[in-house]
């Protein structure tokens, strides 16, 4: 435990081990010594910079390190954070190893990272056994609530429900699902099926590909042959990029206009996919195009650091938010002790790039604002819909009313029985 308001408890970080490829800026950032005048709190960062979802892992790392540097140079924080980065390379068993290494060899009490649920499940037993706190940035499928995890990303009621409601109300009740064969897709499809069935619609197909699988042609052929009114894409990483390109080429050749939905696509991925990514209706708590002063300043700092053509992503921004929520909670608690930090984080509002967010002390998940947008040809998203107030997380979908309209299940953060009104963003 680090009590950084007491001079005798001052700690200087141990050596950090990292491998972040060719990004010299990141290396320089990691080499930079934190201020010697402030006590230092070691923070672990676990994200894969190779493997099937390395692009997202690198985004998480870039954003987390940006937040660490900002906090270390900010006069309001009377401590600094020392990042100890570990790269599990997308190998699931490596997550356990690197987490164990972080806890044993760097003494971290707080860890930021993991992207897939499978990786989080690898880390969970260690953080619970050793009573550490994992700050998990990714949106996920819910149905978990560990006291040793702060879930900073969107819960299923933030992410999947608004998108499926929108589809049912505005596009079609007949949907073709394609996704990666893992828990995120399984659970997203289950919720989708429940809502679609309640609306007297049907799931036309549910096609699954292994993570990293690039052979997508047979699914695209089936879509062109069957001409479904809408495709719901829950593929992740390279499979998704291959699919979107092949889908765009095949539907363009066949002169078909089939809308595609996603609840994971983000700006860096639009750039990876290229022009084929335009027109995808996406659900997210964060888009680069959010017109809030906090976001405009964040994007400006991001581009100054990582280049004018680069874009922050939802998961990256969430990692940035996670570091800030941690730092603010550390500051409030005056100690790195996880019980006190968790209590300090609960309900402590932060005006983040994505808007006001805070941790719901009832379930350690983040209160945030759901949004829908459509991707454009410039690699950005045009927002068309957002909740008018931050929405309480519902990780077990306890409040889900499958017969309800779009707004009813999203109970207000203030626990008001009145559902928030949704408004169109122009």
């Amino acid at each position: 435990m680090h009590k950084f308001r007491r001079p005798h408890a001052q700690q200087i970080s141990k050596t950090s081990r990292t491998d972040i490829g060719d990004d010299n800026f990141l290396k320089a950032s990691l080499r930079r010594k934190s201020s010697m005048t402030k006590p230092s709190v070691p923070v672990g960062i676990i994200c894969s910079q190779s493997g099937p979802y390395h692009a997202m892992g690198r985004e998480i790392l870039k954003s987390a390190l940006m937040a660490v540097d900002e906090i270390n140079n900010h006069p309001d924080f009377d401590f600094s954070l020392t990042a100890h980065v570990r790269d599990p390379r997308g190998v699931i068993s490596e997550y356990h190893t690197v987490c164990d290494d972080l806890i044993r060899n760097t003494g971290v009490e707080h860890i930021i990272g993991c992207y897939t649920s499978a990786s989080r499940k690898q880390v969970l037993p260690i953080v619970e056994r050793t009573d550490r706190l994992l700050w998990y940035p990714a949106r996920y499928e819910g149905f978990e609530c560990s006291d040793n995890v702060i879930y900073v990303g969107a819960s299923p009621n933030h992410n999947v429900l608004p998108l499926v409601r929108y589809m049912l109300d505005n596009i079609s009740r007949q949907v073709f699902c394609v996704g990666s064969n893992y828990v995120w897709t399984w659970e997203t499809n289950r919720v989708t099926r429940e809502l679609v069935t309640a609306a007297q619609g049907s799931i036309l197909a549910e096609r699954l590909l292994e993570l990293g699988e690039g052979a997508v042609e047979h699914i695209v052929d089936e879509i062109v042959r069957r001409k479904p009114p809408v495709v719901f894409n829950t593929l992740v990483g390279s499979s998704s990029y291959d699919f979107i390109r092949a889908f765009h080429a095949a539907t363009t050749a066949a002169r078909l206009e089939i809308p595609m939905l996603s609840c994971s696509l983000c700006e860096p991925e639009l750039k990876i996919v290229g022009p084929a990514s335009a027109g995808c209706i996406t659900s997210s708590a964060y888009f680069e195009s959010i017109q809030l002063p906090e976001n405009r300043a964040f994007v400006q700092r991001w581009k100054a650091r990582y280049g004018e053509t680069s874009s922050p992503s939802v998961d990256g921004q969430s990692a940035y938010v996670a570091v800030y929520l941690l730092a603010r909670a550390l500051s409030r608690a005056g100690t790195s002790s996880i019980g006190e930090v968790r209590r300090a984080a609960a309900g402590y509002r932060y005006n983040s790039p994505q808007g006001p967010v805070w941790i719901d002390g009832d379930n350690n998940h983040c209160v945030l604002t759901p949004r829908l947008a459509v991707s454009n040809a410039q690699g950005q998203f045009d927002l068309f819909w957002e909740a008018d107030a931050p929405v309480k997380p519902d990780p077990y979908l306890t409040q889900l009313d499958v017969a309800a309209g779009p707004a009813r299940e999203t109970s207000r953060a203030e626990a008001s029985p009145i559902a928030p009104h949704l408004r169109v963003v122009k």
């Binding site: 619970e128 077990y396 409040q399 499958v402």
Partner: protein, 195 residues
Amino acid sequence: MSKPSSFSLRGRRALVAVKDERDLSIVRRQFERLGIDIFTWETGDALECRPDVALIDDEFLPLASPAQRALPGRCPVIALLGTETPSRLKLVLELDPASFLVKPLRSAGIYAALVLAFERAERTNELKQQVVKLEERLRSRRVVLAAVLQVMHSHAVAEPAAFALIRRAAMEQRKTIEQMSAEIAANGSLPRATG
């Protein structure tokens, strides 16, 4: 009209008999997240609520009073295991648990234990209803046999044809074969329309 998700446990009522304060606080927190109403219970207390599920700590076993022992028949029971010794498991088996959790508790596992317990209870109830139906049918075999013999006699037909006549009469009158057989046995003949 509102319709909760099929996996939502919102509004269920749980009787919770957990000895350790830490375990109890974990149960309480997780149940609140799931929208489940909690009624804590100590083994000396009277059972005043009608729970949908009961969590029983093995520390409280064996249950003392007849009212307590009747609990497993009233709702599914989730056993909280502190030890896996056969002597303790024997006591746990008396609860006929629909699911179990291992102490010390953590939030993970509680939702799954509840879902499994409710599903197990529903399937067991279906099975019990089926057994009751089958037992009734078994008991009425004698009546059906008597009615078949009577129709064979009165209509001078073989057993399959006699049974077919009874079945047709039962269908026409929207009755079970057993009910129709009882009437035939009592009246001595098939209803007129069928003959």
